[in-house]
Symmetry: C2
Subunit: 151 residues, 2 copies
Amino acid sequence: MRDPANNDERIEALRQALHARGLVLTPQRRAIFRAVLDIGEHPTADRVHAALRRRRIRVSRATVFRTLEALAGMGAITKACHPGSSVRYDGRTDRHHHLVCTRCDRIVDFSDAKLDALPVPDTAGFGFRVNELRVQLRGICEQCREQEEKA
Amino acid sequence: MRDPANNDERIEALRQALHARGLVLTPQRRAIFRAVLDIGEHPTADRVHAALRRRRIRVSRATVFRTLEALAGMGAITKACHPGSSVRYDGRTDRHHHLVCTRCDRIVDFSDAKLDALPVPDTAGFGFRVNELRVQLRGICEQCREQEEKA
DNA sequence: TTAAGTGCAAAAGCTTTGCGGGTAG
DNA sequence: CTACCCGCAAAGCTTTTGCACTTAA
C-alpha cells in the first residue's frame, strides 16, 4: 500500500463512492483514508488519529472514529479480525491473509496463491451469505519471541 | 461444547494445569470456565459476567476479566479473532473455523475436513512461529440480512 | 507466615452521541 | 434554506489497577 499512484486511484474511487451516496470527499476524509493506506499495519482509530497529529493535520478524534466506520461501511477499507480489544482497520480490500500474533495482536499481511484459490466450503444451513474467505495463521511474532527468551 | 462429561474432563484438566503453576481451581474460576463452555457463542467478558449473575453466581467483574485472561494465557480457552471492539473468548481449543458476520460481529463455528487438512503455508521471513491455521468466512448472517431487507 | 485470590472502587482506555456552528449546493 | 460535516465535550462502554481482606498451604 505504498504505491502512491495506486493511492491516487483509490482516493478518486473513494470520491466517486462518496458522491454516489450524496457525500463529499472532505479534506478530513481524504487525510484519514490516506493515513490508513500509508500506515499499512492495520491501525486502530487512535493510531490513525495520532499519525495525523504527527503530520500536523488537525482532525478530531470523533471525526476519525466516524469516518473510519463510514469508510468500512461503504467498503473503501475493511475491518481486520484480531484477538484484541479495539477495532483494527485494513486499507486492503483485495483478497489476502493474515499472520496474527496471539501475544501482542500484531497483524501482518501475507499472500499465497494456493490459499487464494481455495473454494468457499459449503456452509448452507448456517444462513450466512459468505463474501470472502480469509486464512489466519496464529502464532507468536519475532519480537514477542525475543522478549520471551529474556524471561 | 454441551457435552457435560467432556466438560468435567476439561475442568479436571484445568485443575491440573492450574496446579502445575502453583494455582488453585477456585469456585470462581470453575464457574467462569464452565460459563464459557456453556455459552458457546464466543462471549465477551461482560457476557460471561452477566450469564453468571443470571445464575445467581456472584463473581466480580474484575475477577471475570482477570480469570478469562489467565485461562487464555495458559491455553485452557482461546481468544477468537473478530472485527469488533471487545475481546471474545472461545471455549474450543481444537482446530476449527469461523463464520464471521461483518455487520454484527457474530461468530459461528464450522468444521470442514478439507480445511483441517490444509498445510500451513511457508511464511519464513516473517519471523512468526505459526501455531495454527484457521479459516474465516466473512459475510452477513441471516438476522442481519433480514433486518437489511426491512430497510 | 506467605503467597494467592477476590471484591470493590477508581482509573484508564476506547467509542459513541448530542449539539452548535460552519459550509456548500 | 437545507443537508452535510466537523469539533468539542459529555456520556457510555470495556478493561486494568491498587488496595484491603480473606484463605489455604
